[in-house]
């Protein structure tokens, strides 16, 4: 069986279920790198050029970690996932950067995903990737459709406020329920555990569960007891608990309820980027700015934390715009945290404590 490696980095957090389903349906066995550790970060810092942003360095580390264990590396070149938008220049060049800087790599599947002009341009990437495993176009097409379904299910879990690690397991659960009868159940929370008992199409099932969880987790209301803090940033910064030193965990321990950008449905994000003077051509940036505006305007948070990575180009512009918007609104405290490869937690903890103090005082005053 062909082993294909997917690094747990960059847009793994948005697309893994789709890639896993697509490649598995074509007969591949998927290997994912482990969670980020000191060793992975160090390896990445060593192999990537100094000026690269932290997420890219981490990604290098994950790729290096996987390289010896697989027959192929799946590193799609994610140019654009939405019309007239891009991801970021480093993503456009990522496969080339990896190939020229890491040694002894297995063959890299670096198909170009570019739907900047037309949605159907995705098909060339699907075809190019599928060809490696089979010459049967129907099989490739079906694998792609199933991949899309997995993605839809995954998205509804994310919108329900479930974080990627759990959402990925939940999605697999749903998908496996249809692919293999009698699959072993993983230990997932009660809220998502009883999926198999609900009939109907799998996306609908997930949405039902999602809505139930949503009623608990993400309805836009301020808690009378706890304060609500929005943590927004790129998914590979927000969800990688090693490089963000478990900010979300720390905030929860300090008594805050945390909401994130991915809980907001796509259409709502879109409505909330109207205030920008010009359409933002970074897809990930749109999500961050839309979420920031939504939470600030709807008055459902007591504070806003923006996580940015050292050296991130889009973050420097978006962070600036959000900060200015937040300041003009004047409603809630805003904290901009920059992550880099330093591992000393004290600085981060101090900032979070000071921030939550401000949040508390504000609440007391109002």
């Amino acid at each position: 069986m062909i082993r294909v490696g997917i690094p747990r980095a960059l847009l793994y957090y948005y697309y893994y279920p789709m890639w896993k389903t697509f490649l598995s349906e074509l007969g591949a066995k998927i290997e994912v790198s482990g969670r980020t550790t000191r060793a992975i970060l160090d390896q990445g810092v060593k192999s990537a050029v100094d000026e690269a942003c932290l997420p890219i360095k981490v990604a290098f580390g994950h790729v290096a970690n996987l390289a010896k264990k697989v027959d192929y590396l799946f590193l799609p070149r994610l140019v654009s996932v939405a019309n007239r938008e891009y991801i970021c220049p480093k993503f456009l060049g990522f496969p080339d950067m990896v190939k020229r800087n890491l040694k002894d790599l297995p063959p890299v599947i670096d198909v170009t995903v570019n739907i900047r002009r037309r949605n159907r341009d995705i098909l060339s990437a699907v075809w190019a990737a599928g060809k490696i495993f089979t010459s049967n176009p129907l099989k490739i097409w079906l694998a792609y459709r199933r991949g899309l379904e997995s993605l839809k299910i995954y998205r509804s879990f994310l919108e329900a406020g479930i974080f990627p690690e759990k959402a990925i397991r939940a999605t697999e659960h749903v998908v496996n329920g249809r692919l293999k009868a009698g699959a072993r159940e993983d230990a997932i929370d009660d809220a998502v555990g009883n999926i198999l008992t609900i009939g109907g199409s799998n996306s609908a099932a997930a949405k039902q569960i999602g809505n139930k969880v949503a009623a608990g987790n993400n309805s836009c209301r301020k808690d009378v007891g706890k304060f609500t803090v929005a943590v927004i940033g790129h998914p590979y910064n927000v969800y990688d608990n090693y490089i963000n030193m478990n900010i979300i965990g720390k905030l929860r321990k300090m008594g805050a309820r945390v909401v994130i950008a991915d809980q907001i449905p796509e259409e709502v994000i879109f409505e909330n980027t109207d205030w920008l003077p010009k359409k933002l051509f970074w897809t990930l940036g749109q999500r961050i700015t839309g979420a920031a505006k939504y939470y600030l305007e709807k008055d459902c948070v007591d504070g806003l934390v923006h996580i940015s990575a050292f050296g991130c180009g889009p973050d420097s512009m978006i962070g600036e715009l959000i900060e200015r918007y937040s300041r003009r609104q004047g409603k809630v405290p805003f904290l901009n945290l920059t992550l880099d490869e330093h591992t000393g937690e004290a600085g981060l903890v101090t900032r979070l404590e000071a921030f939550l103090d401000m949040v508390r005082w504000r609440r007391k005053v109002s």
Binding site: R84, Y86, D96, M97, G311, E320, R324
Partner: protein, 376 residues
């Protein structure tokens, strides 16, 4: 309406020419200086690339001189430049500067909007007049580019150090002041003749040929690159710059229709298999141009980029492989507001030393081979 625009090398000459022809009052910001970057860095986001900080500094200084309208270019990404104008505007607004912002975006199918903006800028002049003004500005830019190419060849060879720069400065002032086509032609002919006739140091010696690649702003703005072209020239190095503003305009805005340029370098094609996709800015061109310069026998390549420039960082991480594979020395110079001239000079000197010693080694190897074959 008093229009201002950011500095980028000698582009102010063309822009002033265009606006003066249209009778639009311009406020050219003072040349970029330590004050400019200090102002810009204070108010700009910390990790914004240096061009944004210099732009901001330019606008603040221009506002103090009475400018009330900014004209800037836009972009569609993925490089940050496409959002510069808007971020700069927000910062200026919060600082209390009441600027009117006009951004010329790439048409992308909405040519009408772009044309309307140009008409607004031109203060309602006719399209014929606008065309004439644009051509005049372009002629000035072309003249400056021709002079620059000549200067880069002359500087390493001049007998008395500093002569070329003196005549170059005078020529720029004259071109800037010329207000008719006739005067411009005369000034340009004089300048070309004058610089061509500068006395050369006729010694037989090795003059390394080094190409500059990288991000367009830091390549064109001497303050941003700490005057690297002049420094190299005075070290006896012939510099070739990969980007000239008229070439850029011709290739990106006019579809390459204008003749009389250097032939179009197919730099993006040349970048394969090292960098196989557009990455924004001039990232792919940087790699492609390095490949081409290596094949054309250049002695070395210097990449210049602002700190955090995303496309160039992609290129920077791939450049060492190209350099090794094609046996052409390369160095990447990262510029930001903390860059000091001393550090730059040290690196340049080391690099030029490397080039000279490589040449010596190669010559010795050739002589050894000649002796060996002669002896048979």
């Amino acid at each position: 309406m008093k229009v201002t625009f950011p500095h980028m090398g000698t582009i102010y000459i063309a822009l002033r020419g265009i606006f003066n022809s249209l009778g639009v009052k311009t406020v050219v910001p003072p040349p970029c200086s330590k004050k400019t970057i200090a102002l810009g860095s204070r108010y700009a986001p910390e990790f914004a690339c240096m061009p944004l900080k210099l732009n901001l500094g330019n606008f603040i200084e221009a506002a103090e001189m009475g400018a009330d309208t900014i004209i800037m270019g836009g972009g569609c990404g993925p490089c940050r430049f496409g959002y510069y104008a808007h971020v700069e505007y927000e910062i200026l607004r919060d600082l209390g500067y009441d600027y009117n912002l006009i951004v010329i975006e790439p048409p992308e199918g909405r040519v009408g909007e772009t044309l309307a903006k140009i008409k607004e800028l031109a203060g309602g002049k006719s399209w014929v007049q606008i065309w004439k003004a644009l051509s005049f500005g372009y002629m000035k830019a072309k003249a400056v580019d021709r002079l620059e190419m000549l200067v880069l060849k002359k500087r390493p060879r001049e007998k008395v150090k500093g002569t070329t720069d003196y005549f170059f400065r005078k020529a720029l002032e004259a071109i800037d002041a010329a207000d008719t086509q006739a005067k411009l032609s005369r000034v340009v002919d004089d300048a070309l003749a004058g610089i061509s006739s500068i006395a050369e140091d006729g010694r037989e010696r090795y003059i390394p040929k080094v190409a500059l690649v990288g991000e367009i702003y830091t390549l064109l703005e001497p303050f941003a690159n700490l005057d690297v072209e002049r420094r190299l020239g005075l070290m006896g190095v012939e510099v070739e710059r990969s980007i000239y503003i008229t070439e850029w305009v011709n290739n990106h805005l006019l579809g390459g229709i204008l003749k009389g340029m250097r032939p179009r370098r197919h730099s993006r094609e040349a970048a394969c298999p090292y960098l196989n996709h557009f990455v924004g800015g001039h990232g792919q061109e940087t790699i492609g141009n390095t490949v081409l310069y290596a094949k054309e026998g250049y002695d070395g390549v210097i990449q210049i980029l602002p700190f955090t420039c995303m496309p160039e960082i992609v290129a920077e991480s791939i450049l060492p492989r190209v350099s090794t594979d094609l046996d052409i020395p390369s160095i990447s110079l990262i510029m930001d507001e903390f860059s000091g001239a001393a550090g730059l000079v040290t690196r340049l000197e080391a690099f030029v030393d490397l080039l000279r010693s490589r040449k010596r080694i190669k010559q010795r190897q050739r002589q050894t081979v000649q002796v060996a074959t002669a002896g048979r």
